[in-house]
């Protein structure tokens, strides 16, 4: 299965891989420097083993023709929705939300994996019928298809994943040429549904949104994360404090510092210059993704590439926006950077999809 065509190997997007590899390296470094010697290094080692698992998954994804994956999308879809149902039934509850499934020693977060399934499903739904432009029926069918798992994810509640999926959907729809008028109508419909969403939200999620509106509403409660992250990032100044000087992160002021808020740790240690380099790597990765999407002629490949790139872009922007206080806190990991197995493996699989599409562009 892992046997690859020589011709395919010639078309490996090395700059994409390099950008991703660089980010992963920085992630391991940050995790290790959080508390070197004790818990920190254990975190870094565990993350490294997830990188290993992720790389294997990447190879598997690369070796399979992505078109077959799109064809299998209905099966993935059923599997994904099934997992989401399982997690809502018997998943483990962590800080008020049920997101994890225990499978032996591994805990696993189905909504992470669902991002990929979501894109595959979207691609499948938009390309299974040859029609140009897209008919209203196809659009409605697509919405119905992705609406069910979306609802399940919001219910979990995994607001972060749900929030990522919306711009991804929008990006793909724009890509396939849905008229702006239709998109505008959809946006209005979405806005109209917001009060409804408010009712579905858990109190802690409502707090987070309110805090976004007024960060000093409760400086010791919900806004604490935001304020602490801002202080961590800002105190890094231009050149950073280095590993040992990063008191904010190392003294445990920063909650979730190895997961969602890891960028604050990095920015505190390496300053604006370091953050510039890291963000440059993300920008490179995302732009390569868009380039692959733009240059692919095969419809499934380019929609898929656009979707995957949109996931990367949305997740990176939303995470960084929330850590720097531009957006409300919604609990999204920074792809390839945050500690967490599901996120790392899924991110590498997504990367594999991009590579795979690139390699098969010239077939």
């Amino acid at each position: 299965m892992l046997k690859l065509d020589r011709r395919l190997l010639q078309n490996v997007d090395w700059s994409l891989l390099a950008a991703a590899g660089f980010i992963i390296l920085l992630s391991l470094l940050s995790l290790w420097s959080l508390t070197p010697g004790r818990g920190g290094s254990a975190l870094a080692w565990r993350q490294l083993s997830w990188v290993g698992v992720g790389l294997l998954a990447l190879l598997v994804v690369v070796s399979v023709d992505y078109r077959n994956l799109v064809r299998a999308a209905p099966a993935f879809y059923v599997l994904g929705v099934g997992l989401l149902l399982v997690v809502s039934a018997l998943g483990q509850t962590v800080s008020g939300a049920r997101r994890w499934i225990h499978a032996g020693p591994i805990t696993f977060q189905p909504s992470e994996l669902f991002k990929l399934i979501f894109i595959l499903t979207l691609t499948w739904a938009l390309t299974s019928r040859r029609e140009q432009p897209l008919s209203r029926g196809t659009l409605i069918g697509t919405f119905a298809l992705v609406g069910v798992p979306f609802f399940l994810i919001v219910r979990q509640p995994d607001l972060g994943t749900a929030v990522v999926l919306i711009p991804v959907l929008a990006a793909v729809l724009i890509g396939v040429g849905v008229k702006l008028r239709v998109l505008g109508a959809l946006t209005l419909a979405g806005l109209a549904a917001l009060p409804l969403a408010w009712l579905v939200l858990k109190p802690y999620q409502r707090d987070r949104l309110l805090v976004y509106v007024d960060p000093f509403r409760d400086p010791l409660g919900t806004a604490y994360n935001v304020i602490q992250a801002k202080i961590a990032i800002g105190s890094g100044q231009l050149l950073g404090k280095g590993v040992s000087g990063a008191t904010q992160s190392r003294l445990a002021f920063l909650p979730e510092r190895h997961t969602d808020f890891i960028f604050a740790v990095f920015a505190e240690m390496w300053g604006f210059i370091g953050a510039l380099v890291l963000i440059g790597a993300y920008l490179l990765l995302v732009l390569r993704g868009f380039e692959i999407a733009a240059s692919t002629r095969e419809p499934r490949g380019r929609i898929l590439a656009l979707g995957v790139t949109a996931v990367f872009a949305a997740q990176t922007l939303i995470n960084l926006g929330m850590v720097t206080g531009l957006l409300p806190v919604v609990g999204i990991p920074l792809p390839l950077m945050s500690y967490g197995g599901s996120s790392m493996v899924v991110s590498l699989m997504a990367l594999g999809l991009l590579l795979s599409i690139r390699m098969r562009q010239f077939n």
Binding site: I174, I233, L238
Partner: protein, 603 residues
């Protein structure tokens, strides 16, 4: 079913749209960089400063407990800063290690530390108090190892401080952290210090005040940098008691080493000037951090130091009761001052022989000399003349057999038997022997020292029974009056003025004319008093035969200002044991007068 590649025009449109999306994304990234520039470069200096002193804590600011003053404005109890060991769960990265280190360092059982953390709801910002009243030595130990003990903190909080360990222990009472049991009442918060006995308990609502709190930022070493928000505590109310600290101290000094009680009361208004019960318990070791061993020792002590003997212990009044018999007899007309008898030390009634306390008797006695000499034989006959019903009625009118109404709680009512009671209780009727026992204050009669003081005050002031007053007023921190109590009369004994006069003169004679109370005599002050020796109910062979010694008195006899009642448990004879103690107290009260008389005699 592969799809064919799309024609060129559409491809270009696709590329354009993807490019547009890429541009939107790039704009997002640029925006991010802008925000980072703002945070790290423009605001960097300020945020850097913030990060250096960045630690936020919520800490309660304990309201200083109200102070209790004596009638002259001297403090009976005060507050001083004390060290409290606290934990901040959020800052304890490795909770188990820190707790283990702390446990070894201060020799606190690990379970106790864990317990105090487990008892509070999880609120990582809040400070949890685990031990109060740390010694300076312990504080030094913790401060020295501060870096190894993240999340451990020593705070300064006001704590009760007492003039001496046992000063007015029963009166004041001790203050301690609210117990699990008391938490269930829902009136307190975990960690509140509340009064557990005495005035501290009765006046707790006033004394406690209202705690404040503050949000503080501390630096990396835990030093407070800035108070972000502070809610001032409202200090507890000041209480002005009726106690006279000087007299209280004198009473305790005089009782040192004895078991019993002393009450000093102002007969003109019922003010309690001193109230002591001994043995006392060490207030300072119960306050703040409980010394468990000491607590167990006190609770298990057969001498029951926690009991306030002045109002919770009941004794037979002994010869004190002769005052009641005399009052009843004279007022009812069954006795006259001219009644005489010959006392040979024995009185026969049927098959029974009742003895006088003095072998050989007192010889010829009249009512006055019988009272002065405390002749039992005379009072056996007098009691039979007056009759048990009248005696019981007068005893009740003097406030015996009912609580005095003092605002200190758990007061015993005493016991005055009367005819029906005796018949009902034991089946056999009231007999003359019972009357004879009663007339010298023995038998089932029971009184508390406080009741005796009230009774003596009535003799001194001509019949007014006061509700004993302990608290004059309570003043809130803003100076307003929260409570004030004026003297309250709760009963009146109606005797003709000649009877009062007779009683006062006879009691003065008991002290000043070589009577049983002679040991209380002080030159320069005329003291009037009555001794009593109560047969104790023998609980064991070793205690058998040791009588309780009473001395109930007032002075100056002509214009009484002080009532002093002394009870010494198993002390022996009242005249020998209790009267000298009263004398010591009077000496302290009339210090100046006594000194002037001494000078006059010397020159």
């Amino acid at each position: 079913m592969d799809l064919a590649p799309l024609p060129g025009a559409r491809r270009e449109a696709w590329s354009r749209r993807v490019l547009a999306l890429a541009a939107i994304t790039a704009v997002g990234f640029v925006g991010l960089l802008g925000q980072l520039w703002y945070l790290q470069v423009l605001e960097g200096g300020r945020l850097q400063e913030l990060s250096e002193k960045n630690r936020i804590r919520i800490r309660p600011v304990v309201a200083p407990r109200g102070i209790l003053f004596d009638r002259n404005g001297l403090a009976l109890v005060d507050n001083r800063p004390a060290f409290t060991l606290s934990l901040i769960p959020r800052e304890m990265e490795d909770r188990d290690t820190v707790l283990a280190r702390l446990s070894v360092l201060l020799k606190i059982p690990l379970a106790e530390l864990e317990g105090s953390l487990d008892r509070v709801p999880v609120d990582p910002m809040r400070v949890v108090r685990v031990r109060r009243g740390l010694s300076l030595e312990e504080v030094t130990k913790v401060e020295e190892r501060k870096l190894e003990l993240p999340g451990v903190l020593v705070e300064v909080e006001p704590q009760r401080v007492y003039p001496t360990s046992t000063f007015a222990a029963h009166l004041l009472g001790f203050v301690r952290e609210v117990s699990d049991e008391q938490m269930k009442q829902g009136r307190y918060r975990r960690g509140d210090m509340i009064g557990q006995s005495g005035l501290e308990r009765v006046l707790d609502e006033y004394l406690r005040g209202r705690d404040g709190g503050e949000r503080i930022e501390v630096d990396a070493l835990g030093r407070p940098v800035q108070v972000m928000k502070r809610e001032e505590p409202y200090p507890g109310a000041q209480v002005v008691t009726t106690v006279d600290r000087r007299i209280q101290e004198a009473a305790e000094r005089a009782m040192a080493g004895r078991a019993g009680a002393v009450i000093v009361m102002d007969p003109r208004n019922g003010d309690v000037l001193a109230m002591t019960s001994s043995p006392a318990f060490p207030l300072d070791r119960f306050t703040g951090n409980l010394d468990r061993e000491e607590w167990l020792r006190v609770v298990r002590d057969p001498m029951t130091p926690l009991m306030n003997r002045a109002l919770q212990s009941q004794y037979a009044p002994g010869s004190l009761f002769k005052v009641i018999v005399t009052a009843a007899g004279l007022q009812e007309g069954s006795l006259t001052p001219m009644d005489r008898t010959y006392c040979n030390g024995e009185y026969r009634l049927g098959a029974w022989t009742f003895k006088d306390w003095r072998a050989g008797g007192h010889g010829h006695v009249d009512l006055r000399s019988a009272l002065v000499q405390s002749c039992n034989i005379f009072f056996y006959q007098a009691g039979l003349k007056v009759g048990p019903e009248a005696i019981a009625r007068y005893a009740r009118s003097f406030g015996l057999g009912a609580p005095s109404g003092i605002d200190l709680g758990s007061e015993k009512p005493g016991l005055v038997p009367f005819v029906e009671w005796r018949r009902h209780r034991s089946g056999r009727g009231w007999q003359s022997g019972d009357t004879i026992n009663m007339s010298i204050g023995q038998g089932p009669l029971l009184v508390t020292p406080l009741q005796v003081a009230r009774m003596m005050a009535a003799v001194a002031n001509g019949g007014i029974l006061w509700k004993p007053r302990l608290v004059q007023r309570v003043e809130l921190a803003d100076g307003s009056l929260a409570y004030s109590a004026s003297s309250k009369m709760t009963g009146r004994v109606d005797l003709s003025p000649v009877v009062w006069s007779f009683l006062r003169h006879a009691l003065s004679g008991a002290v000043n004319e070589g009577g049983t109370g002679a040991a209380a005599r002080i030159p320069g002050v005329e003291i009037a008093g009555k001794t009593g020796t109560a047969q104790s109910v023998a609980k064991s062979d070793s205690a058998k035969g040791q009588d309780h010694a009473w001395f109930a008195s007032f002075a100056p006899a002509e214009d009484p200002e002080y009532v002093v009642v002394v009870l010494v448990e198993r002390g022996g004879r009242g005249g020998q044991v209790a009267a000298p103690i009263a004398r010591q107290i009077y000496q302290a009260i009339f210090l100046e007068k006594v000194a002037m008389v001494g000078l006059g005699e010397g020159s």
